[in-house]
Symmetry: C2
Subunit: 308 residues, 2 copies
């Protein structure tokens, strides 16, 4: 499964980067990196970034395949290994393989997208004591286009339904719960799907599900960018996008478990913070006119709707 | 002491705002706000903000004077009340009065400054079971000017020395420890002073110390802005400032105890996040040339020096 997951996410990385580079007309820079193999930590990854492209302000698509031994505290915080005795060092060994991507377009009418698919094992490679899949994809527009929300959710629902009709309703709600900023009373965006600790059917079935989800990204997202980047926009609309980028930063730095876990366990900072937008803005008490398109977006992130 | 502290911080707020507004040639907007008095929380504050001024991108100077009852977890996390039995509800009552300010100039050669001075009580108003002062001031340049660092530290050292020669060395080190981003191996800036849980001498003496510190801000900082805003600068230098603003956001959202405490206890978000810069930037693997002024700044935030 370790090898199959790595092959799958590397293939998806190549396909997604090719589609994004084709739309942008720019090439990704590719960084292969390795963790210092100090006996405790091994593995590495490939980070592909396209910065200040024609269409994308910042697009990052990363693969990481790492092994190591967690501290008892980190093992307890990691999840997935419920019921494991974290005092046993062999139980704290882990393997993690993941694909993660964030695409931030320049155009304020084109949404940001994030996706992440990962596979974990705990325990020795030859005899894992726990394994699970996690992941999801979610859309963060600065302006709400219902057609786009229905398209993105609809394609993810179709992918889920092909595997289990119970998946989409559950994972859609999970997504709305997870990407929540309590101090703002807002979700980061208009959601998508999110799941974790998935291990309730044969691993090959879950790998196929996660692969299909990853393959949904390009058809679910790129058409929205193609469509919206044709629209005219004003400086005020660009400033609103920058404020929403600020909310994105707030979520990732204050609440996102993956980001905080990475920063606090000495992960590769450049890859972890690849998710942050190139530019962001914080105004004191930015004024939102009732009934404006900005207020409409706020309403959608405050009260999640059914889109599919 | 509650009343004296409030009078002091309101007077300092007025003086600092007047000096900043005079330099900028713009007026602050003034927001008086109150907490919902639901029996658990009371008080309010005054937040003064100058946004997109001539010299300051964002300048915020806030006073808050609040009372409430902490949860047992929040009480344990708050500090200052060492040895208090947090299971007793009367011990979890608190009073907090503070002045906090962050000034972000537009010009990349002019540093950002932050300062915060606060007084806490735990227990009933008529008979507090604990009290303490905390605070400090620290400088965050994007480019290092040794003359500026010596001036800022020198004036704060003089203020400290007038109260206790042991203060500055201790509070300077405390500042370097506190404003640290472990995931970057960098301090937020080049430091200043920081202290907390100060209650080892009569409260009137500590109030006088904290007042003198607050009064040091204008002479320690504004001359640096006046001096540096005359310099020419390039688009690349402005972009470097924006990257350093990104580090500022990282520190405040990932590590700053006051910010996280505020966000997680449903404080007034606009006042808490007033400290964030108007604009910030995150590049993937920004290139720094060895020996450049940017590398010199990095060296100074990686290896704190004695400036006074």
């Amino acid at each position: 499964m370790r090898r199959e997951m790595e092959e799958m996410i590397r293939a998806q990385q190549a396909q997604i980067c090719a589609a994004v580079a084709d739309l942008d007309g720019s090439a990704f820079t590719v960084d292969d990196w390795q963790r210092d193999a100090d006996g405790e930590h091994g593995g590495g990854g490939t980070t592909c970034v396209l910065q200040e492209g024609k269409i994308f302000e910042k697009a990052g698509v990363g693969v990481s395949v790492v092994t190591g031994t967690l501290s008892p505290e980190a093992a307890a915080a990691m999840g997935g290994g419920q019921g494991l005795d974290n005092a046993r060092q062999s139980n704290r060994a882990f393997f993690a393989a993941g694909l993660s991507l964030v695409l931030h377009p320049h155009h304020p009418m084109a949404p940001t997208v994030h996706a992440n698919y990962r596979y974990f094992e705990r325990g020795p490679a030859e005899k894992p004591v726990a394994w699970w899949f996690g992941g999801g994809a979610d859309l963060t527009p600065s302006y709400l286009f219902e057609q786009d929300a229905r398209h993105f959710h609809g394609l993810h629902r179709a992918t889920c339904d092909a595997h289990d009709p119970a998946f989409y309703p559950r994972f859609k709600q999970w997504c709305d719960r997870y990407f929540y900023l309590p101090h703002r009373g807002e979700r980061r965006g208009i959601g998508g799907i999110f799941f974790d600790d998935l291990h309730d059917r044969p691993p090959a079935e879950l790998l196929a599900f996660v692969r299909d989800c990853a393959a949904t990204l390009v058809p679910a997202y790129l058409p929205l960018v193609r469509r919206r980047q044709q629209l005219p926009f004003s400086a005020a609309q660009k400033a609103w996008q920058q404020l929403r980028r600020g909310r994105y930063v707030e979520f990732n730095l204050v609440y996102d478990r993956g980001t905080l876990f990475g920063l606090k366990t000495a992960g590769r900072v450049e890859s972890i913070l690849m998710s942050l937008p190139l530019t962001a803005r914080w105004e004191y008490q930015a004024a939102i006119l009732p009934g404006s398109p900005e207020a409409e977006l706020l309403e959608a992130v405050r009260n999640p709707r059914d889109w599919a």
